[in-house]
């Protein structure tokens, strides 16, 4: 009986290690030795987590989708964003306004991704702070969850830096991954933990009486 537990433990550990290695490969652009490619084998595909509006409307919910495999982080990032911009599989809802297309992606030396979207993402936005948060973090989390080497994502619109999409979320600088807006973040793939907030000299401690959710 104990032996089975040990074996099961080893199996889980191996799976986790494999996941980590796979994500590293993707991040560094190396070709993994084996991919769960479809039967046609013409176009290798990988499984990624994309993010959609949850049933209760309060969060994003991750969903596994297949996207084309691409060489290198930059190209893979492009495939992931393109898949995230596609309409959501029923009954999920996409947090991104319909008609939004990807204009370009580029990476900085500090591994921040700049994602340039077409004007529909702002012009077609229905407004509301929660809507806007979910739009922004669907893109930020789709990239940072699947490509853990990325440290942050900055959204641009129609080739320009923008203040916000709809008047709330600050887009002047790259945003790091946030699990606060994701349903059951524990189920997300194992990744490099997000940068812990540093206690800077001017950072007051959050009071214990106020829950930080």
């Amino acid at each position: 009986m104990i032996l089975w537990f040990v074996l099961a433990g080893i199996a889980v550990g191996a799976a986790a290690a494999a996941t980590l290695v796979l994500s590293r490969w993707l991040a560094t652009g190396e070709t993994p030795a084996a991919l769960d490619a479809p039967a046609t084998a013409a176009e290798p595909r990988i499984k990624v987590r994309l993010f959609y509006v949850s049933a209760d409307g309060l969060r994003l919910v991750p969903a596994e989708r297949e996207v084309p495999f691409a060489e290198g982080t930059l190209e893979q990032a492009r495939r992931i964003v393109e898949a995230q911009l596609e309409p959501a599989p029923a009954p999920l809802l996409s947090a991104i306004p319909p008609g939004t297309t990807l204009r370009s992606v580029f990476l900085t030396q500090s591994s921040e991704a700049f994602v340039d979207l077409s004007r529909e993402v702002a012009a077609g936005h229905p407004g509301g702070a929660l809507n806007e948060i979910l739009t922004v973090y669907a893109i930020v989390d789709a990239l940072t969850t699947n490509l853990p080497a990325l440290t942050g994502v900055q959204i641009r619109v129609d080739g320009h830096e923008v203040d916000t999409l709809a008047g709330h979320v600050d887009l002047r600088r790259p945003l790091s991954k946030s699990t606060a807006w994701v349903e059951d973040p524990g189920a997300a793939p194992s990744t490099v933990p997000p940068t812990a907030p540093a206690a800077g000299p001017g950072t007051p401690e959050a009071p214990a009486s106020v829950p930080i959710r």
């Binding site: 947090a95 916000t164 540093a198 000299p201 009486s209």
Partner: protein, 518 residues
């Protein structure tokens, strides 16, 4: 009949007298004495209705009621009484009988109708018990306040009591049903204005004791005045809402006894053996509050299915909150936009910073792709972005040569990241806003959240963004349009700011380094 039960003989006697009086009234010409008129309150306004006192009954003339309510009154020869008609329906009254037949149904009256010359006099209860049965709008008699309410008018009952509480004077107003109100101090009067057509209240007589001299009904249409005495210093109001009613508690605080004007003198001038220096007068904990009505002008913000725009809701609530803050706390209140204008986000935070705001409250209304989502949320800046910025801000710390030699640390505050130093206070304010709003409106299942909101990031003061509800939820959109709901939100935020100020006043502001220019 106010007769002690310990005196059965008296009861018997009084009962006999009353019976005799009733019999006498039915058979003999009555002696009706004029009494203070009733006030009729309807959507059209207020009118007096003459009333008389007949024995222990307050009576009104049928003719007066008929003129007021478009009734017909005719003698009914068959019963020796009167028939009151309204739109084909009839109430029959019979002389000497404390009964009325309302469309064929009998109801009891406290006393029989009485013929007084050419008039019929009926007890005021006749209106509520009999007339209301044939009338097509609501009729309600509030005998104690001498009010006759016609139709859907808002006349809350207000029970007032006054008591000393620990050196202060506490005035408690029980208001049923819950009614929005404003409190303003005008000279020596504290005016409590209810959003009502009239008040159903009786004003207690109180003994003038220096702080509170009298309680008056300043305007029967809904204003109660507290006349303040020479010892009055300040007041504090709080609202305790219950299921149906609410308790408005106003504490009148006496002014400190004979405080001389504080004389400031250099510490060296004070004799070493002299009396201890007066405690330095601290600046008030809250002087300027900046309210930011979200969106505006071309930026309409979110919209509800019924067409309600976020920019309109946010401005309406901000204006109400401004009025409340000014009258209750006496603070300066600035709005980032006074009307329907387009104001960039950065200008909003800049206005707050340039005017040395002590608090920024940005007011928004939410939207979701899921129409079921509803409830208010309170946001403050997310910590991880702030943490990242704090590191960058630390790099901006410099030493500058100081006047008279040496160097001193000068913190260069980048307004982009100004919020970092206030995050703790912002979280406290968000928590207080949550507590107060929970009592007043429906909260979202995730009531307090953090997000990288641009208007908060640049504010060099405690700052929160309040999402008052979801316009995309049809029911909530309806609520957000209503003045009562907007007032409830404004009042909850007013309470939160009051509590924040009080908490701040009690503790030394250690979190704000004294060398940092505000």
């Amino acid at each position: 009949m106010m007769v002690s039960l310990k005196r059965p003989v008296l009861v018997l006697l009084a009962g006999t007298i009353a019976l005799a009086a009733a019999v006498a009234a039915a058979t003999q010409p009555p002696a009706a004495r004029p009494a203070a008129p009733l006030t009729v309150i309807s959507a059209e306004g207020q009118r007096p209705l003459p009333a008389s006192q007949l024995g222990d009954q307050l009576v009104v003339a049928l003719d007066d009621l008929a003129a007021l309510l478009n009734l017909t009154v005719r003698e009914d020869a068959l019963s020796g009484g009167a028939a009151v008609g309204y739109k084909g329906r009839t109430v029959l009254l019979t002389a000497g009988q404390a009964l009325a037949s309302v469309s064929g149904r009998l109801v009891a009256l406290p006393s029989p109708p009485v013929r007084d010359g050419r008039r019929w006099l009926v007890p005021v209860e006749f209106v509520g018990r009999a007339l209301a049965g044939i009338y097509d709008t609501k009729l309600d008699i509030r005998k104690n306040s001498r009010l006759l309410l016609v139709g859907d008018v808002r006349v809350p009952r207000v029970a007032i009591r006054e008591e000393p509480v620990g050196g202060q004077v506490r005035v408690t107003l029980e208001v049923a049903p819950k009614t929005t109100h404003t409190i303003t101090q005008e000279g020596n009067h504290l005016l409590i204005r209810f959003d009502a057509d009239a008040l159903d209240t009786s004003i207690p007589a109180i003994a003038a004791q220096g702080v509170l001299q009298a309680v008056r009904l300043a305007d029967p249409r809904g204003t109660i005045a507290l006349d303040l005495g020479p010892k009055f210093g300040s007041y504090r109001a709080s609202l305790v809402p219950h299921e149906q009613d609410a308790e408005l508690v106003i504490d009148l605080v006496p002014a400190p006894a004979e405080t001389p004007f504080p004389v400031t003198r250099p510490p060296a001038a004070a004799p070493p053996s002299g009396p201890p220096l007066p405690v330095p007068v601290l600046p008030p904990a809250l002087r300027t509050v900046v309210l930011d009505p979200g969106h505006g002008g071309e930026e309409k913000g979110a919209a509800g299915p019924g067409g309600t725009l976020e920019k309109d809701v946010t401005l309406a609530i901000a204006r109400r909150l401004k009025a409340g803050l000014e009258s209750r706390l006496g603070v300066r209140v600035l709005l980032t936009r006074e009307g329907d204008e387009t104001v960039p986000l950065d200008d909003r935070a800049a206005l707050a910073n340039n005017n040395k705001g002590d608090l920024l409250i940005s007011i928004h209304a939410n939207a979701s792709l899921r129409p079921g989502v509803s409830g208010a949320q309170i946001y403050y800046l997310s910590a991880d972005e702030a943490g990242e910025e704090a590191r960058r801000a630390a790099a901006a710390r410099q030493s500058l040569p100081a006047l008279g030699g040496g160097t001193r640390d000068v913190e260069m505050i980048l307004w982009e990241v100004a919020q970092v130093r206030h995050l703790g206070d912002s979280a406290v304010l968000a928590g207080l806003a949550e507590e107060q709003m929970r009592q007043a409106v429906q909260l979202n299942p995730r009531p307090v959240q953090q997000a990288p909101f641009r208007v908060l990031a640049g504010a060099n003061m405690p700052a929160v963004l309040v999402e008052v509800g979801f316009l995309t939820n049809a029911a909530e959109e309806e609520r957000l349009k209503s003045e009562a709901h907007q007032e409830a939100i404004a009042r909850a935020l007013l309470e939160a700011v009051t509590r924040f100020r009080d908490a701040r006043a009690q503790e030394p502001r250690a979190s704000v380094p004294p060398t940092v220019p505000r």
